[in-house]
Symmetry: C2
Subunit: 639 residues, 2 copies
Amino acid sequence: MMQQILIENINPSVYQGEYPARAIVGDIVTISCDIVCHGSYVLDAQVRYRHIRERNWRSAPLELVENDAWEGKIKVTRAGMYVFIIEAWIDMVSTHFRDAKKWLDAGEDISTDVLAIRNTLVSSIKGQTGPLITGLISEIEHSPSDAIATFDPKSPAGMEARRLQEKKSLSESRQFNISVDPLIAGYASWYELFPRSQGSDLKSPGRFRDCIQRLPDIKEMGFNVLYLTPIFPIGETNRVGKNGSKTAKPGDPGSPWAIGNSHGGHKAVNPDLGSMKDLNDLLSAARSIGMDVALDMAFQCSPDHPYVRDHPEWFNHRPDGSIRYAENPPKKYYDIYPINFDIPQPMPLWRELRSVFEFWINRGIKIFRVDNPHTKPLDFWNWCLTSLKRKHPDTVFLAEAFTRPKLMYGLSKAGFNESYTYFTWRNYDYEIREYISELTSSPLNYYFRPMFFVNTPDILPYVLQHGGRNAFIFRAVLAATLSPLWGIYSGYELCENTPIPDREEYLNSEKYEIRKRDWKAPGNIRDIIAKLNEIRNSFDAFRGRMDVTFLGSSNPNILFYLRRNRSTGSSAFVAVNINPFEEHTARLSIPSGIAEGISGNVQWYKDVFLGTRISLPGREFNLTLTPGRKSAAILIPEV
Amino acid sequence: MMQQILIENINPSVYQGEYPARAIVGDIVTISCDIVCHGSYVLDAQVRYRHIRERNWRSAPLELVENDAWEGKIKVTRAGMYVFIIEAWIDMVSTHFRDAKKWLDAGEDISTDVLAIRNTLVSSIKGQTGPLITGLISEIEHSPSDAIATFDPKSPAGMEARRLQEKKSLSESRQFNISVDPLIAGYASWYELFPRSQGSDLKSPGRFRDCIQRLPDIKEMGFNVLYLTPIFPIGETNRVGKNGSKTAKPGDPGSPWAIGNSHGGHKAVNPDLGSMKDLNDLLSAARSIGMDVALDMAFQCSPDHPYVRDHPEWFNHRPDGSIRYAENPPKKYYDIYPINFDIPQPMPLWRELRSVFEFWINRGIKIFRVDNPHTKPLDFWNWCLTSLKRKHPDTVFLAEAFTRPKLMYGLSKAGFNESYTYFTWRNYDYEIREYISELTSSPLNYYFRPMFFVNTPDILPYVLQHGGRNAFIFRAVLAATLSPLWGIYSGYELCENTPIPDREEYLNSEKYEIRKRDWKAPGNIRDIIAKLNEIRNSFDAFRGRMDVTFLGSSNPNILFYLRRNRSTGSSAFVAVNINPFEEHTARLSIPSGIAEGISGNVQWYKDVFLGTRISLPGREFNLTLTPGRKSAAILIPEV
């Protein structure tokens, strides 16, 4: 049955509240809706909300913006799930006063209206204290014309009368959810490494201790999340050799994604890396310099994983009873058994996998990069992540899914806080514009939080292969300035780009061998990466959710965009030459009124990327960008 | 709890199924959705649907279109409410065959796959007849490679195997509604008249009998709905005189919207118009020439209405006990008491008002134009219209609401089949484009059906006042070709346009006096209106829901658009000079591939408005349109 007042188009929401929207701790969330009622009553509305762990509801007023659209703000101060409901009602006090004023102004008799006002006010104070309302009643009784002419619904007496009155025709929306994530889920710079490749001793594998040694180096580049590729014991059976060859040579370390051996499975560490205590030391060291550590979690097993022995029912069997390898016809991965979720009794499996996360959460890990979640059922993730977050709302799950877009979005609906994207494959101006426009469209932007990795151990994009150092620079500028979440896989700072011919993959991939490097080798772009992270940390415009407006550029080789943070009102303008081979010039313009604080008077901008200061009085200007260090301009308006 | 397969973005739907979408009897409705599942299974899906009066569910298959989007079609053959549910599941038969084929092509061992296929097929036929599936099993047992290489999921055996298998991971959408309206709600040309102004006897008021005499005339112009302004007894107290003057002179007939006197209220006819039998004769006469009759229903009362005596509690009272007039501060309408819906016990009032509709429905009226519905509660309309339509699904309710857009849309959500619009106030090219683009946007186009009246007794738009006959012509062309529902208020064909100075209102309005006319007076545009209705009736493009694409025109005085009917694949191109004063020329172009059936080869078009035939081989052409009879071109491609 329809309510008398319609409350609709409620935001933030995902499919009418079917899935939670997302926010970050400390966010001031704008709640908006349409409120529609017959006639021409004055309406009032509020949003009632609470954290699900709190018993009491809070409330915040909504205000009419225009054309039956209303808006209010709530502050979410605690990680976890918030619920909100919108209430709207007819404000009879204001309606009567407004109508009486019209009759008064028209010189008509107002006795009916005075009576209506008095009755409304009197019935309001029944059994409630309201000193101001009493004064208002006395005024309406003794000098009604004055009372009506001077009534102000926002005056203390007006507020009290409106607050105490009966909420006539009170209508309520259904309940909507906002999943509030910790700060690190909204804004972060990730650095991915293989622990075994750290350390200066070229002979022996790197250990957690070596990772501790590398921390200052990574911190110097401005990263705040250290992401470790899988740290679990690695299988011996069918271990893969260099470049993924089917048979490993003695001493080959194997793929860290082939998880489990006699030392244990997903709840153990590879002894080559150190002990659980060593890992704990790494976590402490990272924490002491303000960094978080993310674990890579791949739900798949080497043939030597304890699950294979203890729970053969969790795997796919051949007619002869043997277990099937991971397959992606016509490819097979002989070192990996995928877990079979299509089993009659999946709950013991589901519970065990959830307990893996719990194991690491209890050891201080809060961030998980989940490998290939799109090959596991969405209802499993929804059950697993929802229940984990109820207990541990400060956890963060990053979906490493490169698959069909709607499935990637489905994983975020199921509970992933953030997701890998197609960013590495978006190179031309129209591709980048189109993709960013999709990512920032509603309702996607309410629940899907994109992470822009410039490379991964699996992906060495063609643009980096062919464009070399210049490409490494401008791709970093794009990722760091377009997205609040960006990351590199180690080696990026060294511009490593030797591919397997005609493939977007690294030759001699670290997935299958140990690679020790000179982290300060000539040609590195450490200073540029550090500068980008420093700019991100220094200017609000780059924090807050992805909010990008592309601006006019006369040359498709130069992308020009406005990056904005609406909650702080900060803006930055970024121009990037996305052609790694040629210098380009474009005519760019900053439209008037494009952003808060950018009035017609702003003419000085600081180029924080190159450290210059420029004057743009006409706000239409030519800009020349040269591949390399001068391939971008990051302009902060001086307001 | 999330299901394993997500079924989302389901259309037609209004706010995730919160309100029914609308269709017309006989429509083939396209059902679309996204279906998202982990992994890379082959999925299958269907829509199950039924009319709420039918017990059995029907089903129609959905097919994958692209990118996880699916589509199917259902035919709605009966007025009333349909419900539909989408089901999706994993098609293991097809999944196994596809994977086996990949291994086969890669030269790998397929014994595991063969076993999986066999097991799936065998478990499918348990207790079911399936001669084809038995053959398939035998084939997979004896020559598995051939069976796999040649399997076709769309072959009879493939279809049977897929149909009989268990629907693995079966997921279901929630239930969605489609309100199926009678044909007349989707496509109609309305003619509005005051019965008392009909007839050739200048001395006495027109009667229903005179309306019968006028029918051939109206039919000749091609209209198929005769809309009668209120036919109820008119109040005597405070009757309004000519031009709305506060005191009527003896013999002034009063406003038909001041309803009720000693002869009765909303369930009686004004004796001056004739008897209930005379009305019935008019209905029969109209029906016999294929016309419907619409009644004007205004829920308000003259002070003499029986309700005022019998149900004083349904009105607003002053402190002295007298009843308040209709008011719109600072305006008062002394001949009208509005009904007060803000009463403690509204159900008796609600039931009585619903019984008014029932009274007329039982006397053969199926179409109601409802006056000012936006001043009555939305929950009343929702209750009233939903329950009426459950019993009388062939009724049509047109909302005469000129108010805030979201309230107009709210009335359609509450149950109105169609609605008045802002069309009369949209005159310039950008205004018309913008408004049509709003009306054809989703989800609005799923539930809000716009009626384009070119004038009403209340509205004589400035464009008609100033533009004269030329404006009457081009505005008729716009309404008749843009919207499947259009109408005129009588006098339009005579280009009557004398206003109250500086107001968009008629001088000597028929609302307050009787106006007999020479319906064939010189300067009339009867033939043009007849031509427009004939074109609408002859070409499918103008039937079906509003579907307009604006095409490039080099001159803002000439609007150029494609009107389309997607269910029949018909198209028409319309060019209109919207400047009533000047001849204009525009360069127009028909983009290639713009509509079905319009390939690059079409070069001959019939201008059905002017009766010529033109060749447009380049499909880019100059067109000159002259105000008046040659102000438009309506081009039908000769395919």
